[in-house]
Amino acid sequence: MSIVGRPVPHDSAIGHVTGEAQFIDDLTSSKNELIVDYISSPFAHGKIKSINSEELSLLDGIVGVFTCKDIPGHNLYGPVIKDECFLAEQIVEYVGQPIAVIAGESSKAVRNAKKQLRLIIEEFKPILTIDEAIKAKKYLGKSSQFKQGDFEKAWKESDHKLKGTFVCSGQEQFYLESQSAIALPGEQGEITINCSTQNTTEIQEVVAEALGLSFHKVICICKRMGGAFGGKETQAVLPAVMVALVASKTNRPARIAYTKDDDMRSTGKRHPYKIHYKVAFSSKGKIKGLKFDIFSNGGAYLDLSNAVMERTLFHSDNAYFIPNLIFNGTVCKTNFPPNTAFRGFGGPQGMANIENVIEEIAISLNKDALEIRRTNCYLRNNNNVTPYGQKVVNHLLPEIIDKLAEKSEYNQRKKEIEEFNKSSNTQLKGLALTPMKFGISFTTKFLNQGNALVNVYKDGTVQVSTGGTEMGQGLNTKVRQLVAEELNISYDDVLIMETSTEKNSNTPPTAASAGTDLNGMAAIKAARKIKNNLIEFASCYFSSLKKGIEPSVESIKFEMKDKGITEIYDLRFPEKRITFRDLVGFAFMDRINLGERAFYKTPKINFNRDTAKGEPFYYFTTGAAISEILIDRFTGVLKIERSDLMLDIGKSINPGIDRGQILGGFIQGVGWVTNEDLRYSDKGELLSYSPTTYKIPNIQDIPDVFNLETIENPYHKINVHKSKAVGEPPLMLCLSVWIAVKHALSFISKGTIPQLNLPATGEEILRRITELEKISKYGKKNNYSSNESEVSLVCNTLISPEKKQVA
């Protein structure tokens, strides 16, 4: 009986339900520990004139206040380009940007001291939107372009054309455990950081650089995160550096845990986008040519924005073959916290855009949108070349669409909805099926590597360490299953240890859905090495038991018996058996290596940035979703009545965990396309900075009927145990909900293409209903303004605690 493929519970599940699973701020305080907080900019753009840091440092209970001048190493960092300061030097470029670090004996002392802050900043006018940034020519990094065929020719020759603008807002990751870190000073300047991070290696390196230490003097440890979703891929760096700085200055342990409010105000989010599109198509709705001018709102510094934009370009085709295209991608520099990774990493915005375009083609041709989707869908053997030259192979996209439409009675329900909308003047319904294709691998090639350490102990139990971090996605559970399977021992005899740079060095972030692919493979390879050592030893051992028998590794068998006991025997005389525990014990006495480290890198992948062609992805995870929604015509309030999801995730290592990933990812996406509404003051301050004002989906928001099915894919024969990555892909199935809203709106003024920004909040929906009703009544054309902003600004400012102290 194989452990791989079984829905074993999350490996920390018991810890979760009993509250024993510890997160950073749950760790017991060590003697002398200091509480750390930071002082940040109350303005989106300005110049620091003065700060009374010395005065603050003399207050009761305060041990130190540190500014950029106190950083012993260098103050610049950034995951790709070092363009960001740990602590602002002269210029501040977003609200919440750290200026100083304050450390005290208690949080009360720190809170009190912060009230005595006198921070003088000369305020500059901030740039907040993409349009403003374009006007001021403020960009981050280089623009990129994908090209295929001849768009201009297709545009000129086509009878059917549309152009327009797609606008979507950002999204807060809203991991429940806020950014947090604890630093413990060691001997000779060494330092250990416990940090809630997806990227222990980066923390190690960045802390070392900030403190002017060599890398080998810094250890970063992460046991688990209380959610991350990309938000701790690069941005866990700041709190880690803050506590490291305090620990190194004071030689005392130091702890920081952001409040939710501070976390939301000062960290980056999913990028807002604005995309101008032009599409040429046939009377049947076949796309002839596409041009996308894609702009993202990157925030103040580059962070991962270029890579995010690149993934947008990679996913602007979604599941559709496009013969002629130009995709241009540009990241705009604005005065917001640097936007960063968030599940989907630019994919959702690109896919939302093309789904929007497809829906508009359908409305303009008065055809069924599913038909248009199916017409343009990638096939297996032809019409399968992506905009970047990679062929989409071994996939089931057409089958998934057809099967899902059939199973969920798309045609029947669509008719019912048409009837409903005719008869009701109080409510509106909409229905949409959207497919999803998501490329798996880091598009930055060197990140596609992982290493693992497996140690077998003398009682036959095993510890595994990888560079992968556990953020709830179930990586540790899957790795545990894979190692148990590889060694053919009980799942209970394997434990996954905390992630530490001491054991696993030079690791990539746990991101890009690739955690299990990379770390699972590395762990299997390490376990395999040990197993080979043991098999070789066992062959000698068994041959020594019987005269005249030569050692034969081929005839050594591992067999799991009841109660998780593994027995080893030689096929030639199976009656002589020893347990795994005994075998390990004997092997140790014979000086056999029982600990191995292994390395894995994803094969094949390649992408040439100069030509924008190559094979960046090892494979694709695909699926589709169909959602039915109900809108209150008077208030715009939206309800999801039913969603059916279907995915090809290969052979699942753990169906229970994968189901959780899919349903959870979908609902997280639903939040993005419906009610998660980031609102800022026109000074660039986030106004919706806590769950009171920023509404992630709660349990009442999930569809009344919610079905999930995974399908077998006989063509998929690669990757660890023929599984597929499942972390990010399901999020994008949420687009079925957003497109269903657009579908519903298309009933109000027949033939008019309804505009719909993302998210489709009640306010956005009611605005569009009112707009369309006017068109329907007065026959005006819908002149959609391309001036619509991707950032929701309110003319009303917030009095932040810092601002009160601004002279």
Binding site: Y175, N675, P691, V794
Partner: protein, 504 residues
């Protein structure tokens, strides 16, 4: 009188005085007791990660005293609200075994493990507590009751489906109450001695040479409470504390003189006489919800979406009123129903309590401004239960349907006589500094017939009577649209119901 608070946590006694009384329960649990299973995310009662049980001493039907357990958000409960109670945290749920790690999980915990109800695990203790609270209250576990019971808990990972699976898999038939793991009798016997004594505690803190005095008072009689208010002029009154505590956590206010109504049983009464309902100012939303379920179904519907179970277990109607928010969810109802508040007062050296009744719309003077003297305390709210012939509808529009502060609220009550509108009462919230009655629209409607055009026109008029602002929740445009549409919606709903009734 005593100068200390007593509370039990997972069966262990804690005597608290001085500064400690001014701590949130979650801080006390996490930082002082090391019970870190209780998590804090938002510190404002919106995520439920800090959910624990509080058992408060109540008279049972047999006349004895027992603990009455409910789930609460521990981040917005200060210890001065929890005197003489027994707190059960997630650490207290499982039964001890041979070793700590071998202890037995309770049914909820086991179901959550098996159904994959946790991913990152940060919200999980809160969910486990809320779900256990449902079992404790012997709720039936259906998809909809589970959703209702878990409205106050946010999860970012699971999409909730597997949490619902977990709850649905629980066999509730032989659930053994968690309270049986503790020696309630011993705790109650110990507390009985203190239960009828008021608590008064004052202390002083000094920081950088600046001294600041603090005091908190937990009286056992209304008279004492009123005397305290009379004597001190900067008193912050705390009933459920579901708003005050948030303001304190977020450092928006910094009170140093607290009057906690925790032990004022006389303010927990509800009575109905001659269709007049009297609600004591300590009556929680959970209690009121139960009463309104039968009596005022329209208001019940608002209470259902208005807050989470944890909030409803602590928060009070009176608190919702004195908080004086223009989007307070109870106010449109109280406005159209012409509710009244009772304000009590006492004179020093007098044993009498003076009372006056004030119409709800006279109670508010402006944004967050009340017609109340510093010595007064709200003691009751009363209204006449609407007649069956009155058409009453209440609306709450918010970004998220449940547990969200409203963008716009409305109360509409119409009385029809002989096919004509005899009386119209309209109250809109979220469209000005206070909840507004719309006299011009009410006048317009009077004498009109119930038809769509009338209500559309009324909607247009309503927009002229209000001046909403743009804020974090919505733009003024959206609020204007809602104000315009809601009367139309009212009509359509009425019409649809009427048509249905006829058909039946």
């Amino acid at each position: 009188m005593r100068s200390y608070l007593i509370l039990y946590v997972n069966g262990k006694r804690h005597k608290i005085s001085g500064e400690y009384g001014f701590k949130t329960l979650s801080d006390f649990l996490r930082k002082d007791l090391g019970l870190v299973g209780t998590k804090v995310v938002c510190a404002e009662g919106d995520c439920g990660s800090c959910t624990v049980f509080v058992g408060r001493m109540k008279l049972n039907q047999k006349g004895g005293i027992e603990f009455f357990y409910q789930s609460i958000d521990s981040c917005i409960q200060y210890l001065y609200q929890l005197d003489c109670s027994h707190i059960i945290t997630v650490e207290g749920l499982k039964k001890p075994g041979k070793n700590n790690f071998q202890s037995e999980l309770n049914k909820v915990q086991k179901a959550m493990v098996d159904a994959g109800g946790s991913q990152c695990g940060y919200c999980t203790p809160g969910f486990v507590m809320s779900m256990s609270a449902m079992l404790e209250s012997k709720a039936k576990l259906t998809r909809s009751s589970i959703k209702e019971g878990l409205t106050g808990n946010l999860c970012r990972c699971t999409g909730y489906e597997q949490i619902i699976d977990a709850a649905l898999s629980i066999d509730v038939s032989n659930y053994e109450s968690i309270t049986k793991s503790f020696n309630s009798k011993a705790m109650l016997d110990d507390l009985k001695a203190d239960f009828f004594k008021s608590v008064y505690c004052k202390y002083q803190v000094s920081w950088n040479g600046v001294k600041r005095k603090f005091q908190y008072f937990v009286p056992t009689s209304l008279k004492e409470a009123l005397d305290f208010k009379q004597k001190n002029d900067n008193v912050t009154v705390v009933a459920g504390g579901t708003d005050i505590s948030v303001q304190m956590n977020k450092e928006r206010i910094d009170p140093n003189c607290i009057l906690s109504l925790t032990h004022l049983k006389e303010l927990e009464e509800v009575n109905i006489n001659d269709q007049i309902i009297n609600i004591g100012s300590k009556v929680t939303w959970t209690n009121l919800e139960e009463i309104c379920k039968k009596q005022i179904p329209q208001f019940y519907k608002i209470i259902q979406v208005f807050a989470s179970r944890q909030i409803k277990n602590e928060g009070t109607l009176a608190g919702n009123i004195v908080n004086a928010s223009p989007i307070a969810d109870s106010l449109p109802f109280l406005y159209v129903i012409d509710a009244e508040v009772e304000l009590s007062n006492t004179r020093q050296s007098s044993n009498n309590i003076e009372k006056r009744w004030l119409k709800i719309n006279k109670f508010f003077r402006g944004y967050k401004q009340l017609n109340i003297k510093s010595s007064e305390l709200i003691t009751k709210v009363r209204w006449k239960i609407p007649d069956h012939e009155d058409i009453l509808k209440l609306y709450k529009v918010s970004k998220r349907k449940d547990l969200d502060i409203s963008t716009f609220t409305a109360g509409v009550m119409i009385r029809i006589k002989e096919g004509k509108i005899k009386k119209a009462c309209l109250a809109f919230g979220g469209v000005g500094p206070v909840v507004l009655r719309l006299p011009k629209v009410e006048n317009y409607l009077k004498g009109k017939t119930m038809d769509e055009r009338t209500f559309r026109e009324a909607g247009n008029l309503a927009c002229k009577e209000i001046t909403p602002i743009s804020d974090v929740r919505a733009s003024s445009d959206y609020r204007l649209l809602l104000a315009e549409n809601i009367l139309h919606k009212f009509f359509c709903e009425w019409h649809e119901e009427k048509t249905k009734k006829k058909a039946a």
